[in-house]
Amino acid sequence: MFNQLAEVLRSLGHRIIDRVWRLGAGARFFIYTLIYSGESFKRIHLTIREIYFTGVLSLIIVLVSAFFVGMVLALQGYNTLQKYGSSEAIGVLVALSLVRELGPVVTALLFAGRAGTAITAEIGLMKATEQLSAMEMMAVSPIARVVAPRFWAGVISMPLLAALFSMVGILGGYLVAVPLIGVDEGAFWSQMQASVDFREDIVNGVIKSTVFGVACTMIALFEGFDAPPTAEGVSRATTRTVVNSSLAVLGLDFVLTSFMISA
């Protein structure tokens, strides 16, 4: 009985220590990435190449999703708003939901699935095939050469993707609300223009998606760098990237929103 209890406590303690250790290792990794960023800025073409891989290649999934999210928003929103006789407010509803919440959050979730997993798997495999070790032995820091360019590519891509998401989403919402349902076009746009504030809504959305960019890219990079160099290790790391990024994005979203609303 006592032994079993001790065993449970021990494994609990072990897990907690393990988590704390990983958190510390992750934080250290983040600081190293920032320190080595200077070196990688000297070779800006590496970052540009990664922006292509993480940002440009994520465009299709992000834009298609945005289009459908916008259309669904308009349908659902109209359905509710018309009960209160304010169906012209549909433009405001679509725009605010997208710019404040759905744009940054859904883009980050898609980014974690599309680009984050690719980053983790690539770095994990580079580690498994000794490419990172080889780089170290050639006196080239893998953090400066491999990690930092991907990090900045993610941080730069994310707000741009989120902005495009909102834009295409609004377009989708417009197509459903105006030509399909028949909401007045002037009311749709003018109410949107009047109600969406640059500082309160758009800038806050950009801040959110930048923070999500840091979180998602960092998690993907750390999981790849930390993955055991085996097939199983890389596959687990890839799964962890999606799970941890998604949870981090949703958690951070709550924290950021509460700060932004109370401010």
Binding site: A134, M138, A139, V140
Partner: protein, 268 residues
């Protein structure tokens, strides 16, 4: 300047309760090709990592060109590594770069040479390993032997003083093996470098190297020129050179008594 470019003094490495190396002494004279031999899992590759400063010794030290490796800061360590070239077992070529870019990688990272000169140097190195024509291929399009030759061209890209080979013969067909064997010798002599070859391949390496260290159970059990070792009567060397199944190195991993083990049933 000491005659030995690399010296390993009383080196121990491992974890409490499981020491991989227990007081190893080796020296690698300039210009020579020296082999470190031993069974799988005897810590040969780890020795290369200790020389390259990727691991820190538990006790003792590795001295490369007069500098103690584990006492260097990052700057010093990177300075030392520029004198080293390492050939990894699987080649470790960068899969997102072409053959040409792989060989150019160390030059582009460490020198400010104009692109035209880098091109000449890369083609020179690729020609030395016979793969000038493969410059535009991706590493995934290469056979195992070709990948290792490209990796070799990359390892010697900056004309290192020390070239380290991690199992250069593993998994190659006899022709590729002969090619690599030749290259190790010619590159060593042409560059005036010192080569350290970690291998368990007795036949190929005995033709190639000047001196051999045998490592087993964490210590150097025998050393000498290939000729001396062929004549050695030491049981371990005898077993290893002739490839006998049982001997000082047992066939069985340490286990409880076989009969007792079988009778114990399910009580693992």
């Amino acid at each position: 300047m000491s005659d030995n470019i690399v010296e390993i003094n009383n080196l121990s490495f491992g974890y409490p309760g499981r020491m991989l190396h227990k007081g190893i002494n080796m020296s690698f004279p300039r210009g020579k090709v020296v082999a470190i031999m031993g069974g799988s899992g005897s810590g040969k590759t780890t020795l290369l990592r200790l020389i390259g400063g990727q691991l820190k010794p538990t006790k003792g030290k590795v001295v490369v060109d007069g500098a103690v490796v584990h006492e260097q800061d990052r700057q010093g360590l990177y300075q030392l590594r520029r004198k080293m070239g390492m050939l990894f077992q699987q080649g470790a070529l960068f899969t997102d770069l072409t053959v040409f870019e792989n060989v150019a990688f160390p030059m582009r990272e460490h020198t400010d040479l104009p692109e035209s000169m880098i091109r000449d140097l890369v083609l020179l190195k690729l020609n030395a390993v016979g793969l000038r024509g493969a410059r535009d291929l991706k590493p995934t399009q290469l056979s195992g032997g070709m990948a290792r030759r490209v990796a070799l061209a990359r390892a010697v890209a900056l004309d290192p003083d020390i070239i380290m080979y991690d199992e250069p013969f593993a998994g190659l067909d006899p022709i590729s093996m002969g090619v690599i064997c030749n290259l190790i010798r010619t590159l060593n002599d042409a560059l005036g470098a010192t080569s350290i070859v970690v291998t368990h391949d007795v036949h190929e390496s005995f033709q190639l190297v000047d001196y051999v260290y045998f490592v087993s159970e964490g210590v150097v059990v025998a050393e000498g020129t290939p000729d001396e070792l062929r004549k050695s009567t030491m049981p371990f060397v005898h077993q290893f050179v002739l490839g006998e199944v049982d001997g000082p190195v047992p066939f069985h991993y340490a286990a409880p008594d076989y009969k007792q083990d079988m009778l114990r049933g399910n009580n693992v």
